[in-house]
């Protein structure tokens, strides 16, 4: 029984982080039909901001807000630097500029800070453990679950109840039609990048909280996870991204629990094999997006 509870907590906490990562990627993809390859650097930006303010006497929560803010600003900067100038011209150009911006940010971190890991400040509650239903688990797992629940709820409410949220869902279905109703294209796109940054920044706190350090290439793994989760869930659907995140976490955790010790280092190979099977069964992902829509 305790093993089952442990398993559920592990899946939910890992899945919460994965779901937020995936949602941050798909919110931009849904509207622009373009993968933001500089997405991982939003997490990096938040991590280095934590490192840079670590010497200050600020309370951790303020540092955390600054870090998330840095991710939001970097997100919006991605739009202005990598997307907006070439968006209307060519898909290939945007792919290349978003790769370039990603590399630029990584190299800047290497050059200006250090290629070696830098430790980030973490509050004590991240290293505490708590006992829940007789299971001893790190408090940060529960924090991750709570943060994911709060953010997913807020996100859902914002997308359903606010005019801008409805406009963003509409723009994801049919961008030109939304514009012909007066929805400003640039506002919708900038908002998508800001939300992407908000989600990535929050994930950064939770994700880097597991490792305790930040390196220039720290964003690569979250980008990969987010990408795989959205591909499983369906690139066209916000719900799909969340579902994909939790499913990927379930697969990872189940393999962690069941694989013998000497096979564990090949876990990713098993994970990807399962992902391939899922995609053979459902090539468009688990959740289909709205039927219409073209790239802008």
């Amino acid at each position: 029984m305790t093993a089952a509870i442990q398993f559920v907590i592990d899946v939910l906490s890992l899945g919460g982080a994965y779901a937020l990562m995936a949602l941050g990627l798909v919110i931009v993809y849904g509207i622009l039909r373009l993968v933001n390859f500089a997405y991982g650097e939003l997490i990096m930006a938040a991590g280095y901001t934590l490192y840079l303010v670590s010497a200050s006497p600020l309370p951790w929560l303020v540092m955390a807000v600054l870090a998330v803010g840095a991710a939001v600003v970097t997100g919006i900067a991605t739009d202005y630097v990598a997307f907006r100038p070439v968006r209307a011209k060519s898909v290939t150009a945007v792919l290349i500029t978003s790769f370039a911006f990603s590399t630029l940010l990584q190299n800047a971190a290497q050059l200006l800070i250090s290629p070696r890991p830098r430790s980030i400040p973490l509050p004590e509650m991240f290293s505490d453990t708590v006992t829940l239903f007789g299971v001893v688990t790190p408090a940060r797992n529960l924090i991750t679950i709570a943060a994911a629940a709060v953010l997913l709820t807020l996100f859902t409410l914002a997308m359903r109840r606010t005019v801008l949220g409805i406009a963003m869902r509409a723009a994801a279905t049919h961008f030109t039609m939304a514009r012909m109703l007066g929805v400003p294209a640039n506002l919708v796109i900038s908002t998508a990048f800001a939300i992407s940054g908000l989600l990535a920044g929050t994930v950064a706190l939770l994700w880097l909280g597991r490792i305790g350090t930040v390196v220039p290439r720290v964003g690569l793994e979250p980008l990969l996870i987010a990408f795989i989760a959205t591909v499983i869930g369906g690139m066209r659907s916000l719900e799909g991204a969340v579902l994909g995140g939790f499913l990927l976490a379930f697969i990872d955790t189940a393999l962690n629990y069941s694989l013998p010790q000497d096979l564990l280092k090949f876990r990713d190979a098993f994970t990807f094999s399962l992902v391939i099977l899922i995609l053979l069964w459902r090539p468009a992902g688990l959740v289909r997006g709205p039927a219409t829509g073209q790239r802008t």
Partner: protein
């Protein structure tokens, strides 16, 4: 003069879809734009709405040059577009679709609420289905929704592209009755249609397009009386 289009040209790569078209729509006037498939009617409408950039020519609203404006600016200027593809947001509810139609005047809550009530009174079918997603509506209901959604921005000029396309005859009757009622409120309408009889019955004037050019123009009644109109210009 509400709308004046002068020497409008639209090109897709090397293809000249619209080759110098002049159209005028007066205040409160209903003007039909007729023609066979591929005559350039939809391209003309999309260029007026700002969805595609004209290659040459001018679009003026009340004398002001708005050529090549972005779509969101055209809505603010009072031009609402109903494309032939209908383009309801299928995973949004009917209510959300209408709310989005009022995006440019979303701060005027009382006015938006009143207009929505007016649209529901005009299209009772939509009121019944307010909470359903638009994708679950029939073709006729979707057409009613996109017209109602366009009206939510309180346009002075409505661009309607083939509202009767693919709909059953009884539904087509209803749609044209709605267009007549909207026209009676003083709204200017530029109507693209293949249903020549219905369009000429509701319009004041009409233009006939052929191969990207205006081939004939005149009062709707005169064009309707010209027996050879169909075979000459509409490809039978």
């Amino acid at each position: 003069m509400a709308l004046a289009v002068e020497a409008l040209e639209v090109r897709y790569g090397g293809i000249r879809a619209v080759r110098g078209v002049d159209i005028e729509v007066g205040d409160g006037e209903v003007v039909a734009l007729l023609g066979a498939n591929g005559a350039g009617k939809s391209s003309t409408l999309l260029a007026i709405a700002g969805a595609i950039r004209p290659y040459a020519g001018r679009v003026r609203l009340d004398g002001r040059d708005v050529t090549g404006s972005i779509p969101e600016r055209m809505v603010r200027a009072g031009v609402a577009m109903v494309p032939e593809t209908r383009d309801v947001f299928s995973d949004l509810t009917v209510e959300e679709n209408l709310r989005l139609g009022a995006y440019v005047r979303r701060r005027d809550r009382a006015g938006v609420e009143a207009d929505r009530a007016a649209m529901f009174a005009l299209f009772p079918r939509l009121a019944e289905r307010a909470e359903q997603t638009a994708g679950t509506l029939s073709g006729g209901e979707q057409q009613m929704l996109v017209i109602a959604r366009a009206m939510m921005s309180r346009p002075r000029l409505l661009l309607l592209d083939e509202p009767s396309l693919g709909l059953a005859p009884t539904i087509v009757e209803q749609i044209f009755a709605m267009i007549a009622r909207l026209a009676a409120t003083g709204l200017s309408i530029l109507l693209v249609e293949q249903n020549v009889g219905k369009a000429l019955a509701v319009a004041d004037r009409a233009y006939v397009m052929r191969l990207g050019r205006i081939a004939a123009a005149g009062p709707a009644r005169e064009l309707a009386a010209a027996a050879d109109l169909k075979e000459h210009y509409l490809g039978g």
